[in-house]
Symmetry: C2
Subunit: 187 residues, 2 copies
Amino acid sequence: MAKNLQEKILATASELFYSQGIRATGVDAIAKAANTTKMSLYKYFPSKEELVIAFLRKRDEDFRTWFVAQVDAKAADPKDKLLAIFDVIGEWMDIPEFRGCAFINASAEFPLEGNPVHQLSVEFYDKFRHYIADLAGQCGAKSAESLALQLSLLVEGAIVSEQMKRHSGAAEQAKQAAIMLINGSLT
Amino acid sequence: MAKNLQEKILATASELFYSQGIRATGVDAIAKAANTTKMSLYKYFPSKEELVIAFLRKRDEDFRTWFVAQVDAKAADPKDKLLAIFDVIGEWMDIPEFRGCAFINASAEFPLEGNPVHQLSVEFYDKFRHYIADLAGQCGAKSAESLALQLSLLVEGAIVSEQMKRHSGAAEQAKQAAIMLINGSLT
DNA sequence: ATTGTAGTATACCGCTCGGTATACTACAAA
DNA sequence: TTTGTAGTATACCGAGCGGTATACTACAAT
């Protein structure tokens, strides 16, 4: 069960961190939920903070990989991909485990700018915005950076809105707004 | 110092809750920062949760009052007010104490839908969206509800974005996007 | 002078937190 | 058969958590 245990601990911790919040999840609870002990946990992760960082790093990797794959599967043209982003977000929100964006939540729980957890959240959204800016550039938007930032605001707003109140149609409205902004930026 | 102490405790707690997070702020720290004792604190607030609720209730009151006053001071016409919203948000973000939206943060710290803290956050944004929808209706938007939701997504997105990375121009980009959406909805 | 009220001081409660020490079992490689 | 490795079990640490008990001071109203 060598490497397996480490991964299981991380997976269990990730689920608890995401669903209940990081501060609300104790180390004992993680060990118990993973059917192991604190001793084993601390063999792989020297501190809770390191475990949190590992959680966010993996989340960054996994989510972005999953996300672009989803977008690619829905559209080939860069402009269509920009719109597909909102469809993917909308589908993501519909799964019952959805509890908002792990990075937005983490940066709310650790608000100090210097905090490494906060920093990882910043990096995630930088990459995300860069991904959108790339697409915007490919379809010849007037100002790709501006459009990308505007679209990312819609995405983040939709996530936060949906987290507070489920099934409020945030993703759809975000997409409608995105259509206007994209068309306006391509004329 | 009768009623004064209660208010001072609430004010101190509010500042700590907002700047550090709710879970990260202990009752002892609040009492010490307010130059009083836990005994006095618990005379006015039967539990920490009640103190948190009092904090959010007052914040709801104060913020919305302050916000519409700011908007009213900047514009008279409903359409101009819709745009002024983003100027006010932008100025709010520039104050050094800005740490995002207390309600978004609270709902991230208490993600369970049934939680009273989470519920207060939902109510706040319902009122906020309703305020925008009113303005949108006054200036004859095609679909006031849709426009209001879209604009609120931009606002929330800008707040979250600015909270993660300061001075990224989120409010300005949100305003540019809002102009397009509003004009599109008024034609 | 008495009594009630507002607030303080301090010590304490049980519990949980993040983290560690020690001694154990199971097993595989040499 | 030894030795190293992976993991378990359990008890413990100091500190902080939310919350309470008791006894105190200051002061104003009657």
